[in-house]
Each structure stands twice: as structure tokens, then as C-alpha cells.
Symmetry: C2
């Protein structure tokens, strides 16, 4: 079974190489950029300006293969891929919650970007914390790396 | 530009019709089901059992068209699609954070399911609140519907 998607726009960021990038949006508060939405989808942006944060789903377009066990940036041990946010996934879909600064026609100005320049955008959803709010959360191996995602930069292990 | 994905598994839920379903996982705490991961991806599930909650990205397989302005379940006013979680999207990718109960080989037992039975799974990511944690969040039109996502059920407006 094949599922075919077409980008709704393009994410423009300052990053042209996967090395030395922020590994999560919370480590990219200073990173601003623009998202260009294709004209045909502009009407769907109505009401989005009331939200301070939005969820971006995008295609990790430089990924050409996957690895089921990886050593993530936040660890020194091999971990199962699906317990990590590593980019080389069977379906390389990226997820980032970013801050929406303003909307001008079909251009979204945002901060907290942690993806490559030219990344094809698949979907935007409003970020509503109560939709995903849980108590008693266990975060597995990431527990040992608590707080480090903000400062850690990427290297080229997933090139 | 076409992006082609292949499901990594299938989500089995009690829901065979889009009517009268929970509209968000937080309204589906009692809804349990199983996710069957394809054998070839089983190795990637290592270490996932340490996490209490996981992010599912899936293909809304019954969606055959999109609408750029919709009246969402939580409102009576038309809203831009991208400011809603409505399913009829240009790229119909669903996102749900669900509770992971246990893993038995390639089967994940989970609760908080809010998607149709037979939904093709695209990706699993670990749910780590600090990766998406922000302060001063504004939730636009959803502000008027605060707390209602837990009880609201779907109707057939997006059939």
C-alpha cells in the first residue's frame, strides 16, 4: 500500500547542513524563518493567527534510508528507532511545535525552527496543550538526558 | 512533487464509523486497542516500553478530499482548516498521543485511541513533554471550547 502526499508549502530556515543544528525546537528559540504556503491552500490559514504555537508536520527530504537501531544525540547507547526522534525513519515525517510570530498573506513568520532549509511542509495543526495533556508520564531512556535537548547540537551521524 | 510513504503497521480500534467517536485522545481514556507493527520494523520497537505515552502519526485512510474552511466539532463558526484538527486535510495525517500499556513482540496494547479501525500507521515517536513545552500559549478560537474536547463526540460532518 502506497500513500501519496503533496507538500502544502516550504519551510525556509537558516540551516543548510544537518550538522550543528538544534535537535529540538526548544533549543531553537532564537531561530526564525518563514513558511511559504502554496496559494491554493491560503484560505485554510484563516483563524490561525489566534494561536501562539503551531504543530508542523514535514517531510525530512534529505533522508534516503532508515536504521531501526540508532545512537541518539541524547545518549551513548543504541536505542530502538521508534523510541527516538532520529530522522532516518521508514516514513521520514518530522514533527515540530514552533512559535507563530505573524502571518502575512501566505507567509508565516515563525521561531524555534529545527529543520533544514527547503523542507517540504505536509500539514499545520493548531497547538492546544489540553489535547495532549497527560499525568504520570514516563520518558524511558530520555530521563537520563533531561534538560539536555535545549543545548545539544546535532552532528552528522544521520547523514 | 510527490512524497510516497508505506505503512509500518495497522491500528486496530473499536470504531468502524466516523460518527459518535471521541474527537481527541483525552476523551478516549477508556478506549483500548492494539497496534500491529509489520515484522520487518519490529527491531525499531526496542526501548519503547520505557515510555508511558507515544505519538502516533497515521494516514486518515477514509478521507478522499479536503475542505479549506470547516465548522469544527468544538465550534459553530467556520474556521480555516489549519486552525482545526478536522480530518479532511490536503495531506490527511492524523496525530494522537496515546497511552502505551504493554508491548508483546510486534503488538502494542494502547489506550486513548480516537481513530478508525484499520488505520494505517506511518510513524511512532516517543512522547517527551519537555520537547514541546512552551509558556504563554494562546489557543485562538479553541479558548471558547476549553475543556469540551474530553466529552464532545463526532458527528458525520466530515464523511
Amino acid at each position: 500500500m502506497e500513500i501519496i502526499y503533496t507538500p502544502i508549502g516550504t519551510i525556509h530556515t537558516p540551516f543548510n547542513d544537518i550538522k550543528n543544528m538544534p535537535i529540538q525546537p526548544t533549543g531553537a528559540s532564537h531561530v526564525e524563518g518563514k513558511i511559504e504556503i502554496r496559494q491554493e491552500f491560503m484560505e485554510g490559514l484563516q483563524d490561525l493567527d489566534g494561536f501562539s504555537h503551531i504543530i508542523l508536520l514535514y517531510h525530512l527530504h534529505k533522508v534516503k534510508s532508515h536504521k531501526l537501531v540508532v545512537i541518539p544525540f541524547l545518549d551513548t547507547q543504541p536505542r530502538g528507532l521508534f523510541s527516538t526522534r532520529a530522522p532516518k525513519r521508514p516514513n521520514p515525517i518530522g514533527l515540530s511545535v514552533v512559535k507563530l510570530l505573524k502571518i502575512e498573506k501566505n507567509i508565516l513568520c515563525v521561531s524555534h525552527l529545527d529543520m533544514l532549509d527547503g523542507t517540504p511542509l505536509l500539514d499545520i495543526k493548531p497547538y492546544v496543550p489540553e489535547f495532549e495533556r497527560y499525568e504520570s508520564i514516563k520518558i524511558g531512556w530520555v530521563e537520563n538526558a533531561r534538560g539536555r535537548a535545549k543545548k545539544q547540537k546535532s552532528d552528522d551521524r544521520f547523514r
